[in-house]
């Protein structure tokens, strides 16, 4: 990925060097030269040709700087989108979902299960203590959780009799469940679903090794929020271990029958979605095409013109590509 994203980012560096025609030639030379130089270096170190040293150093330096620039760009872009830009996108999605869900609830058309199309809003989850207000979408695959917390599809909806499970991201894309481990027993969680409003009382936070909560009484609703948390100094950005919050409501809405017995692997906790690989390949191919297009355009037009046109495209493509990359990463981070 890093290598493929490379070319477009070399362009600005080249552009800085001079006019349209000359850099093209220079670039061609430069591409050839370092190869020779590298070959020579492999056989004999710097010393035997001290006269050509400055040129070689310059060529090597440009290669190194180009590569590191690319690495930095890709890494920082990814990190930035996960932590910052993704949050913006998530808020935007939440706004849209909230509007849609609000309309549905008002129109009594909000889904009540058992099978809801993936990505549809199914519940509004409010945790007053944490200041969390999120629209829960159907589905827990990594891609679904980009928009907000996701409802595990083989469990009843929150508030319905039985144990409902909701996954949420801990750090990336807004990290809606990032503060979840701060919940205490007795805290309230409010949920609005198509059937009405339910108030859950938190039973506690549960981590690996803790016993499961006592079996729920029949006719009560239980809600298990699932997210991840990290440890150590970088706790906020290293969510690696799954953590659960159990909550219970005394009364419950009826549960429709016909829940799917299981969900595919990508929708389970820390699941990844390898099905995104073809899409990723497509995105990267588009990035490559954009690169080639920029190079071709630079032959005719000035760098400023080209980049005015190409930058939005490059940003949009990078954004889309990162969204796809997210689907390949664990869903709870």
């Amino acid at each position: 990925m890093t290598a493929l994203v490379d070319p477009p980012e070399t362009a600005p560096e080249l552009g800085a060097a001079g006019s349209a025609a000359v850099p093209a030639r220079r670039r061609a030379v430069r591409v050839r030269r370092p190869r020779r130089a590298l070959g020579g270096r492999a056989r004999t170190p710097r010393r035997p040709a001290p006269a050509r040293a400055p040129e070689q150093v310059e060529a090597l330096g440009s290669v190194v700087s180009t590569a590191t620039t690319m690495i930095a760009l890709v890494c920082l872009w990814l990190a930035a989108q996960m932590l910052l830009l993704g949050g913006i996108a998530q808020e935007r999605s939440q706004d849209l979902l909230y509007r849609e869900f609000r309309t549905q609830v008002a129109g009594a058309t909000a889904p009540v299960g058992p099978v809801t199309p993936v990505g549809e809003p199914v519940a509004l989850l409010t945790i007053p203590r944490l200041g969390v207000e999120q629209v829960v979408v159907e589905g827990t695959a990594s891609g679904d959780l980009l928009a907000g917390p996701g409802h595990l599809r083989n469990t009843p909806l929150p508030g319905q009799a039985g144990t409902s499970v909701v996954f949420g991201r801990a750090a990336t894309y807004g990290g809606p469940f990032g503060d979840l481990p701060q919940l205490r027993a007795g805290d309230q969680i409010q949920v609005v679903v198509g059937q009405g409003r339910a108030t859950f009382t938190v039973l506690g936070v549960r981590r690996a090794g803790d016993p499961l909560p006592q079996p729920a009484e029949a006719g009560t609703a239980r809600l298990t929020l699932v997210t991840a948390e990290g440890s150590g100094r970088l706790r906020a950005i290293s969510p690696g271990e799954v953590v659960y919050v159990d909550a219970e409501a005394e009364s419950a809405f009826p549960t429709p029958s016909g829940l799917p017995p299981t969900v595919p692997d990508p929708e389970k906790a820390m699941g990844t979605d390898p099905g995104a690989l073809p899409l990723l390949a497509l995105c990267l191919a588009l990035l490559l095409a954009l690169t080639l297009g920029v190079i071709a355009a630079r032959q005719k037009w000035s760098a400023v013109h080209v980049w005015v046109v190409a930058s939005p495209l490059a940003i949009a493509l990078s954004w889309a590509t990162t969204d796809v990359v997210m689907r390949l990463l664990p869903n709870l981070i």
């Binding site: 310059e58 590191t68 690319m70 930095a72 990814l78 144990t163 409902s164 016993p211 499961l212 006592q214």
Partner: protein, 950 residues
Amino acid sequence: MRNLRLIALLCAMLVLGGGLSVVGGPVAAKPAQDEKGKDGKDGQSTAVADSWSQTKEMVRRFAEADGTLYEFTNPDTGAPYQVTVSVDHTQNLRGRERVEISWTGAQPSGGRAADPYGEKGLQQEYPVVIMQCRGTPETVTPETCWTSSVAQRSMISQPASAAVWLHDLDAPAADKEKVVGVPAADKDACKQVDWNGPAYTRVTPFVAASGKVYAACDSEHMPPEAAVDSAFPPAEVTAFTDASGKGSVQFEVRSDVENESLGCNQDTACSIVVVPIVGVSCDHNVPAPTSRQSPTGSASVTGGPTATADPSGSGSPSATETVTSSPSSDPSGSPSPTEDTQPDDGNPMPLSLRGCRRGGRFLPGTSNGAGEGIDLSVGPRLWWSASNWKNRFTVPITFGPPPDACDILDSRAPTGFYGSELLAQAALQWAPAYCLNKKRFKFQHNQMPDQAGFSLMDNGGGAAALVSSAYESGSDPVGYAPTAVTGFSIGYVIDRPDNAGEYTDLRLNARLLAKLLTQSYPGSDLGRAHPGMEDNPLALMNDPEFKELNPGLSEITQEAGAALLSLSNSADVVYQLTDYIAHDRDAMAFVNGQPDPWGMVVNPSYKKVDLPRAEWPLLDTFVPQTHDTCMQANPAPYFTQLAAPVTTLRKIAEALLDAWPNVQTRCDTDVSTNPPTFKLGRKARQGYGTRFMLGVVSLGDAERFGLRSAALETKPGVYVAPTPDSLGAALKLAKQSAAVPGGDAGKKKGAGKTAPQARPTTGPVKYAPYVIDQAKVRRSAKAYPGTMVVYTAAKLANLPEEDAAKVAQFIRIATTEGQRRGSGNGQLPGGYLPITNQGVTGELFRTAQAVAGAVEKQKSAQPQEEMPSAPEVDPDHADIADVPVGAVPAAGAGETSVDAATGEAVAMPQTQAVGSDLGGRLLPLLILLGLLAGALTMVVRTVVIPRSRR
């Protein structure tokens, strides 16, 4: 990645399990009212002496011409035969149950038939006729005795020489007419009766329970159950007595479920009638000339007709021929019913009288496999004749309630307990003790595979399950109350060659069972074409290993000898059986492909099959090439046809009872249609005398139906048969364990995607089942490997209050009242080891009581009310040992003992660790790498490149 996915899967399952429990969880239970159920009076468990014995004196008498009586005494004692008949149990019998009838002091039999049952047993001399009759000893008559063919009860149009009954000393004159017994209503219908001709007829009609009279003059006038090849083979038997005067037979009784015309049931008194044949006593109606014939005189001097061949018969062989031919060759014979045609040999005695005075043609102990004619006077056909009939023993028997008694007598809705068939025979007797007692609930045992029963219980579909091992449960913990100690056995019916009776001490080892289960015997030449098994012995009887263990058996190959009739569905029995094999090094070496010392190899289809397993697969798909058009038109996997497993142990038991292997290789062609049509199906019943069949049966069925059980090898060279002692010895090796057997491999329970590590069941260990380690059994010289405990498995939380009370009641009654041996309602039948407070079963008893208490006292968990008291969770320390919320005792725990409290605060499994290294390190790494690369770029740009330009 895979690791990650597994962990994620695990977590999701955990969450899912929690979800399901709440969905399926019924209304929470309050403490049930303590109803011990002991105060109820149980149905009819009056202590009746179950066995029966009686001695009678019997003698054959001839009236001499001078009016004196000659008696044929026992040559050994010089006194009349003192016959003692005993029956091992007679009370509360069920349909098809077999009772053991034995006798001593009878006259030795001659000319034994290959098959003593029904019509085929008629050609024997001095046998013992055993029948089932309706009526008490006072009311029983030949008309109420069941026979499955006309020949067994009627003599139709017989020649004078066969009309022996005409001279019965004890018969009234009315029985000596030419035609006797045909009901007036059937006079015209009985066409075979020679009304006016020279032949004689004596009919014993059958009076059905409904009152309908069947004339029994031909097969048209017999009860429907007496049809040829009817559903049940004949039960009435003409047994033989050995040279010492002893004999025994397992007699199968039929209830009105099997034989409605006979109509024996709980309310209809029935009897088993045993008629030892000593020969018809003869009168001397025709004054015999004293000149040259004194058959009996000489015989008596030499010690009676049994000691040697009867002088009358052997002395005049030509007479026999004349006798048989005379009626047909001389149709104009005397019409007089009592005066016979005088034959030409000068013997003045009428043919019928001479027939009557015959003493037999076969020496004691000889066989009559060819079914040659016998002397009627000492044969079984005339059992109804007055002098035979008066020697009868009438054993009164009673029948237990029919299997559907509770459905009829109790209109309440039953409470189903689902699962193991091992409990079937006990449940049959237990159920009426519940449904007939209004203080108890209506217990119903629904047989199904253990796994299915458990799942049903676990999902809340059943009050309790009856299983024999631990199963993985949902979120609710499950307690296992030991309810019965029983097991399985390898039932068999094998005849010794040369009509020497049944083989009674079969010994088997694990490798032989493995050979049978893996279908490694080709069965016939069809199977021999199977690649890789060319040199294997055709069937068990040809296997040198089997012959070494069980010498002296016939080696004639039968297809049934290549199969062990077993279960097709999942069962704990199959698991235990395969576990036994899996703990035998030789057997596993064989399964894994190593030839046995005689060169036999495993069927390649089953090579390295995973053992143990709860369900035995049919893996062989070999279809033989044959010239048989029927089989060509209907190709089928041959070895699957041989094995042909069935769904219930009861079916296996009945197959053994009937000696009717489930081998499905029969292929008949009907050439009368065009194109020819084919009929596939089960092989015919095996002939008596050549039976060879093995099957997996429950010990309860084996006892009920009198099936023989093979002794299984434990230590090398030690073979243990199922007895109360060997069951108890195995129980001593049992350890309580909550581990799901086979759970580590994930194979047994069929859940392909279970957690990689064995998950414990969610029940506390003290309510867990007992596991009998086969490895220990293999080191014991006394423990029976097939020992199994049947548990009542019920939830310890979230069981509805009503159900909890019922389950607790059942466990308590079943482990106290239900463990008394007996045949009455509520008692424990044979094949089960009673669970008592003392001895080896004491621990089981106490566990059962503890589980009953825990089931009864369970309450719903109400954690949220307790929440304020729960210690708070510190969210800042991920690795802190949180005080788990789940450990908060449920409300009301304090009011009872510590025991009860732990029973309520359910021990829940731990949260599984789910994590992702990638998720944990990705972001820091990205940022670090990005910053480093950025810094490097800056360095290169600002320092290296400008300097090089300079």
